[in-house]
Point group: C2
Chain length 234, copies 2
């Protein structure tokens, strides 16, 4: 159900406000290629995904956890023959990712500017707090948001806490993001509204099955600028 | 100068409220021993300290950064001959550290309990946010604190921001912690009061030279319970 009385619009950050996943994709592709003398690239990528998902519980999200997972996966796959230069390269890739610039997703900033006067705007992201803070700061976008929340997980309980904390009613809340799993399903699940704006690449960990979507209604847009006519039409 | 009108007492967390450094020390000692076929343990420890300090800028504080630094240092020191089992062991140590229980420092909880009615209590710590949140939660100590702040660095600017945010005047503020560098000097530097309670082990990165201490006045206690008579005497 899509509500007509939206007062608060919340935006996911990674791959909604700025480019993120391509940095991980490029690193994965390079390491898969580097390890292709041991296993085919697709098999390494699969094993890395598995390692990453298993490690989230302990090491969390973000680049540091990713670096540890890459080293762990490469070390296992090389079966005792990993090269010192391979390990050094993985750490260097992590360092580069943490020093990379922040690239806005096209058109998003003007949407934030346009919505700012009419709606209470929130940024709701998850991941390593220091890494997110670095990107928030470099993005220059914090000026548009009344509240910025960096969560460990974006599940129903987390969204409930945020709505409660900022006294936002469920039917007044609209979440915008690129992840059906994190930005859409839990929000619709607690009675809020959600807009999905797919990014051209989605991390396997965030992909949901069709079963999960069953009966959940949300709006899918192809770019942020389409939010304005959508909100006007409510 | 030690002020008499203290209204807010802030506590550092790692090695002030709960045991932290010994987990790192034990991991360092084990890895230094593991690498002793390549270099003497003291030389490895020194090289690891250097690697850690250099990496803080990019990878920050905490266990994940420590794991990456240990792998980087071991990889360099082994000079192309690092064993897969060595890398696996370092990652396993990190996992163990992140799953370790939280052990209160003796006597601190009863001090918090006694001070709670009289003073505004704050916890001011630095490090990886997810790791600190895990320890805060496991410690069960959050109930004693009106505000909990997890900072990237504990420098004068950071303390100024906290005092401003919570409307605490400099002369009303007392910081208690085990690190002269992070808990004492920046607080005294902005006109607050500080109590140093040394822990039996201090990370080399936190050690200050005698020059840094020049002219800075603070109180040194040997245990938290001595805070009560000190505050009563003001």
């Amino acid at each position: 159900m899509f509500h007509g009385k939206v007062k608060a619009v919340a935006f996911d950050a990674d791959d909604t406000l700025w480019v993120n996943e391509p940095f991980f994709d490029r690193a994965k592709a390079e390491i898969a290629d580097m390890m292709s003398c041991y296993v085919p690239a697709e098999r390494f990528t699969e094993f890395l995904e598995h390692t990453q998902s298993r490690n989230i519980n302990v090491f969390g999200y973000g680049v540091k956890s990713f670096v540890i997972s890459m080293i762990e996966a490469a070390n296992k796959v090389a079966d005792g023959r990993i090269k010192a230069s391979d390990i050094a390269r993985i750490i260097e890739l992590g360092r580069d990712m943490l020093n990379s610039p922040v690239e806005h997703i096209e058109g998003v900033e003007s949407v934030l500017h346009a919505l700012g006067g009419e709606y209470k705007l929130l940024m709701i992201t998850k991941g390593d707090v220091a890494e997110q803070q670095r990107k928030i700061s470099l993005s220059g976008m914090s000026v548009y948001f009344e509240h910025i929340e960096i969560l460990a997980e974006k599940d129903e309980a987390a969204y409930e806490r945020i709505l409660h904390k900022h006294s936002i009613r469920h039917e007044e809340f609209l979440m915008v993001g690129n992840s059906v799993k994190s930005d859409v399903l839990p929000v619709v699940g607690i009675g809020g509204s959600a807009v999905h704006i797919p990014f051209h690449t989605t991390w396997a960990h965030e992909v949901v099955s069709l079963d999960d979507l069953c009966g959940r209604e949300y709006v899918e847009l192809s770019r942020a600028s389409e939010l304005l006519p959508l909100l006007l039409s409510l």
